[in-house]
Symmetry: C2
Subunit: 138 residues, 2 copies
């Protein structure tokens, strides 16, 4: 192991070689999303200063913003007590973190009304996803 990467060996990846990474807006504190990274994604994130995740559905590196242009610029990376969760402080380019075209992914709130508990969508779509993913990158 390259001694320059000893910081990487301290991470506790799960049995699939992945670690959860929470992205938080560095300015507002809003939690934008949580996704997964493998060792390669973590390394590339640190090297480039842009968030790179591992897409479990596509089973490949997911350079956040590669299609949408909605890059996340890294300000700080934190590791938790068990070394099995990362917290990224980021600037979200374009102000849209979610593939649904919303500012962040946590747009459903658990509400209690009329003896019914249900999820309510409380944050607006800022840009139609079909426009995000078919338009040329900014």
């Amino acid at each position: 192991m390259n001694t320059e990467l000893t910081w990487l060996t301290e991470l506790a990846f799960n049995q699939d070689g992945l670690i959860p990474a929470i992205a938080q807006d560095a300015q507002t504190g809003v939690v934008l999303m949580m996704a997964w990274m493998n060792a390669e994604a973590v390394t590339e994130t640190v090297r480039t200063g842009h968030a790179v995740y591992y897409s479990r559905s596509r089973q490949r590196l997911w350079r956040k913003g590669e299609e949408s242009g909605h890059i996340q610029i890294i300000h700080e990376i934190r590791l938790d007590c068990d070394a099995d969760v990362l917290l990224l402080q980021v600037t979200q380019q374009g102000g849209i973190a979610c593939h649904t075209g919303r500012a962040h992914c946590f747009f459903r709130r658990l509400d209690h009304a009329s003896d019914q508990t249900h999820w309510t969508t409380v944050d607006p779509v800022l840009k139609d996803p079909t426009d995000i993913y078919t338009s040329s990158k900014p």
Copy 2:
């Protein structure tokens, strides 16, 4: 299925029946910790208004604060776009979320110095863990 629990069926638990839950301080926006919940933990969290997780190491429900007194009072629960991550807005009783006696679990920062990248502990221990876990509950 009880129709009152249809909100629960919308959650995408993983193959182990778990879903990650991020706890964020409702006042400061600080991300305190990330832990896991099973369906029972989610249900009890919603019913009691106190965060209940599932301890993977102890393989049982972990009522946050059951030993330390550091209960998390729930203000809001959010669900992400893929329905596979929860975000909790909480008040952290005692001001200590981490079992190390720190305010939150993300106390290590990735730093670059002298051509070396390393994790630096940047947040103080507020209370000795041995005092947290041996003292009687408040």
